[in-house]
């Protein structure tokens, strides 16, 4: 649905985005992660036709914004963390304006349906300026989807939201994905993305350093498995026993359990377990440590920013 080829953007001497080849499949949620200053917003602004690329090519639903910006705009909805609302309009007036501005007939039914979807129907006749931050954010999403775009570009949509509003946002995005919308959402708060992203792209210093499903990238980049061993006291005996296993590295006692790296394969784990038991270690639990988006990011990122 969204593809970029060698996408590059310079601001003066600074190269904010460098040769990014993005591939966002249709009807998926694509998480765009990276530290502040990694180039996420610049990339999103280029995809959203707000910024001209210095070099490279963008295709949104097969259209290039440089050739057909209006065609691309018809297909995308954009939301930034500033929301961009008119405080002096009523909620329904605001949506009606954006319907008209996108050449869509602004029927009452349509506006009410959208307001129900973002759970703002009860604020229909309220001034936009009187909404809470969470409501403003939901209205921003309503604005972005009121003309039914095929692609949603969301830049840090959850920044400044409370946990309940974040959960509501997550559910809303899943609903939109299930309805067939392709969503590209950027964030530097990884926990908010890990629950619902089908694919992720990791950016650092303007480069896309990894791209794919979280599982795929974890497997691609993993050089050793992290294991967790829970034992009864004393832990020293277990550490001693593990020292004899050649595939085990970086053994460390962390609070109530022992963590270690394992360079072997999954099939080798029962042998390790057996060795521990034979050495008289009172094993309570022995399992691979589950990895999430945060681990993936920490593994890939050096933390450098532009």
């Amino acid at each position: 649905m969204i593809e970029t080829f060698g996408l590059t953007r310079k601001y003066g001497k600074l190269t904010a985005v460098r040769n990014v080849d993005l591939h966002v499949p249709e009807k998926t949620i694509y998480g765009f992660i990276g530290p502040n200053g990694a180039g996420k917003t610049t990339t999103l602004r280029m995809l959203g036709t707000l910024l001209r690329p210095t070099d490279g090519r963008i295709l949104v639903d097969g259209l290039d914004p440089a050739d057909d910006p209006a065609g691309v705009r018809r297909r995308i909805g954009f939301l930034s963390d500033t929301f961009g609302l008119y405080d002096d309009l009523l909620v329904w007036e605001y949506l009606e304006y954006f319907c008209g501005a996108h050449n869509v007939e602004p029927t009452t039914e349509k506006i009410d349906t959208i307001l129900h979807l973002v759970q703002l129907y009860h604020k229909r006749d309220e001034y936009v300026g009187r909404l809470s931050r969470g409501m403003r954010q939901r209205l921003g999403i309503a604005r972005a989807i009121v003309y039914e775009p095929r692609v949603l570009l969301l830049d840090e949509p959850a920044s400044g939201l409370d946990p309940i509003a974040r959960i509501a946002l997550r559910d809303l995005l899943k609903t939109l994905r299930d309805r067939g919308t392709t969503i590209l959402v950027s964030s530097h708060i990884l926990t908010e993305l890990s629950d619902f992203c089908d694919t992720v792209g990791v950016m650092e210093l303007g480069r896309l350093i990894a791209q794919g499903s979280i599982k795929e990238i974890l497997e691609q980049t993993r050089t050793q498995m992290r294991l967790v061993l829970e034992v009864l006291e004393p832990k020293a005996k277990a550490v001693e026993a593990l020292a004899d296993v050649p595939q085990v590295v970086d053994v460390a006692v962390v609070k109530e359990h022992i963590e270690m790296g394992f360079t072997g394969k999954r099939e080798d784990l029962p042998a390790v377990h057996k060795k521990l038991v034979e050495a008289g270690v009172p094993v309570v639990a022995f399992y691979p440590k589950p990895e999430n988006l945060e681990d993936l990011f920490l593994r890939l990122s050096t933390g450098a920013t532009n």
């Binding site: 601001y11 040769n19 690329p53 609302l85 304006y97 319907c99 008209g100 501005a101 350093i209």
Partner: protein, 576 residues
């Protein structure tokens, strides 16, 4: 009705005209117009006041009030519009709407000064009173409404343009004032050199034209003076509907001229606003629109000067003035277009990013590409060629000494091209503010030598240094007569044009060399980057181990930057 279908116009009305605001503004309007009528009625009743036509005089003053409201209140509101959108972070979302920048700009043009329009609208029933009482003809009422509306649109266009150009809200109001002022200067230059011909001034300046229209319209100038007897020797001008401006020897009604001139300026300013709404990084005008604006303005300029240009030479009289006016006005238009066609520094660097070493001349002379970030030099060369052809044609037609006119043409052409090259150089030199620096240098170049030479009491040297002084000297036939010329035995006719041509050539070289320098730096950076990548990979390979392999995998995922000439997807090459 069409306006009400414009979502932006509707939004602005909703935002600005809530019931409370409407009530307040209607009350202000009624107070102003009703108060004025009441006051005039009381003055008329006052013993000893000479008789005057109450409703006629009221009509005249009310039109003035309406114009003042749409001008001063309207321009402030218009100047805030886009600047406020930027401050409230709604600008991006407006740029994303599919109705397009032209419709969006139209909605803004009509609705950005809604409160000012409302006060003017409240005055319309009051203006109708003199017409209903048959103290003025009904067409005069209709003309007054049309003039206020059209002039209001012009003022809004000036304010909106300022708003679209300014980066911050406080700048916008100042810029609107400066833009308004520049119209006075421009028309002053055109009309002043033409001996203060009012029709010429009118034809070039909606503001002056408006003044003329109101003067002609005024019942006070057509009948007894409101507060006293008519001065001796006063000849009342013809009624507004009959006053004419000359255009290609044809008499055009002043009102029609007013509409045409306003329409032209509104369209040019509107194009700038729409362009800024499309992308604020682009140049103010596209090359196509710049060429159209140039063509229309030259056409109007020639039309305005036509009669004077073709006057048969009279012995003992200097007839160069109209041609000098044409050259001077064309120079202003070309210089304005040099600013309007120059893209932002970021876009210019973007264009260089897609070029390879030694392509500096190709980039320098590129006319256009799909990302619209070409330097303006070639476009300006084409516009200058257009000017030269028109100017040569007028020179031949006017039967004036050709050598001096050709020298003036050379000066204007060289000056415009030199300025274009200078702006390009400054954009390539700085990350931001290249155009501002260019404007500063231009103003300094026009003013500083004047001040120095006046202090040194050598004003004659201005003919060698200052293009404005040159044009004045050319118009007055002074270039070969001044004391300095006699003392130095130098004819100033060709000195400044040739010097300007040399400077323009040097500036072109400088700009092209700057482009080359940036391309060389870029090439060196690319090479260094490739070397660094290769070194890093070799080091990792030698180090071995799992961590090194992980890093190598990361490096492989983050593909090194490719030279732009290779591996680019089809269609991304700039097209001529």
């Amino acid at each position: 009705m069409l306006a009400f279908a414009n979502p932006e116009f509707k939004r602005l009305l909703r935002s600005k005209l809530r019931s409370r605001t409407v009530a307040v503004h209607v009350a202000i309007g009624v107070f102003i117009y009703g108060g004025l009528l009441g006051l005039m009625y009381m003055i008329k009743q006052f013993p000893g006041t000479p008789a005057f036509p109450l409703l006629q005089t009221f009509f005249q003053i009310s039109v003035g009030i309406q114009l003042a409201v749409v001008t001063f209140y309207g321009v402030t509101q218009a100047a805030q519009n886009i600047a406020l959108e930027r401050e409230r972070a709604t600008y991006d979302f407006q740029r994303l709407v599919t109705m397009g920048p032209w419709r969006l700009a139209l909605g803004k043009l009509l609705g950005c000064a809604a409160e000012a329009w409302l006060i003017a609208l409240v005055g319309v029933p009051f203006l109708l009173l003199p017409a209903l009482a048959q103290q003025i003809p009904f067409w005069m009422f209709l003309e007054a409404v049309a003039v206020v509306f059209v002039f209001g649109c012009f003022v809004n266009a000036v304010g909106l343009t300022a708003s679209a150009i300014a980066t911050k809200l406080p700048q916008a109001n100042g810029l609107a004032f400066l833009l308004g002022l520049s119209f006075f200067f421009f028309s002053g230059m055109v009309s002043g050199a033409a001996g203060g011909a009012i029709t010429l001034a009118s034809a070039w300046n909606p503001i002056v034209l408006l003044y003329e229209w109101v003067t002609f319209l005024s019942p006070a100038t057509q009948g007894p003076m409101p507060f006293g007897p008519m001065p001796p020797g006063f000849v009342p001008p013809p009624p507004a509907g009959l006053a004419t401006v000359k255009f290609f020897s044809m008499g055009m009604p002043l009102f029609a001229g007013f509409l045409v001139m306003n329409a032209v300026w509104i369209t040019i300013l509107y194009a700038i606003v729409a362009r800024r709404l499309t992308d604020p990084e682009l140049s103010f005008l596209s090359i196509g629109h710049g060429a159209i604006a140039f063509g229309v303005l030259e056409f109007l300029l020639v039309g305005s000067l036509w009669d004077r240009l073709l006057l048969a030479p009279v012995a003992g009289m200097n007839m160069s003035l109209p041609l000098a006016v044409f050259h001077g006005a064309s120079a202003v238009i070309l210089c304005a277009l040099a600013f309007a066609l120059t893209p932002s520094a970021d876009l210019l660097r973007g264009r260089l990013h897609r070029a390879t070493r030694n392509q500096h001349w190709a980039v320098f002379l590129e006319l256009r590409n799909r990302l619209q970030d070409s330097p303006p030099v070639r476009a300006m060369i084409l516009l200058v060629i257009g000017y030269v052809l028109v100017a040569l044609g007028l020179t031949v037609l006017s039967e004036l000494p050709a050598d001096r006119s050709i020298a003036a043409i050379a000066l204007v052409a060289a000056f415009a091209l030199g300025l274009t090259a200078l702006l390009l150089y400054l954009q390539a030199l700085t990350d931001k503010g290249g155009l501002k620096a260019g404007a500063g240098l231009l103003v300094a170049w026009l003013i500083v030598p004047v001040v120095i030479l006046l202090v040194l009491e050598r004003p004659d040297y201005l003919y060698f240094l200052n293009p404005v002084a040159y044009m004045i000297g050319y118009a007055d036939g002074d270039l070969q007569r001044s004391e300095t010329h006699r003392a130095l035995k130098v004819d100033a006719t060709w000195l400044q044009p040739l010097a300007t041509a040399v400077v323009a050539g040097l500036l072109c070289m400088l700009a092209a060399l700057r482009l080359r320098f940036l391309l060389d730096i870029q090439e060196a950076e690319r090479r260094q980057e490739q070397i660094d990548e290769e070194d890093r990979y070799l080091q990792l390979k030698q180090a071995g181990g799992a961590a090194a392999m992980l890093a190598a995998a990361r490096a492989a995922l983050a593909a090194p930057p490719q030279p732009p000439a290779e591996g680019r997807p089809p269609g991304s090459e700039p097209a001529e």
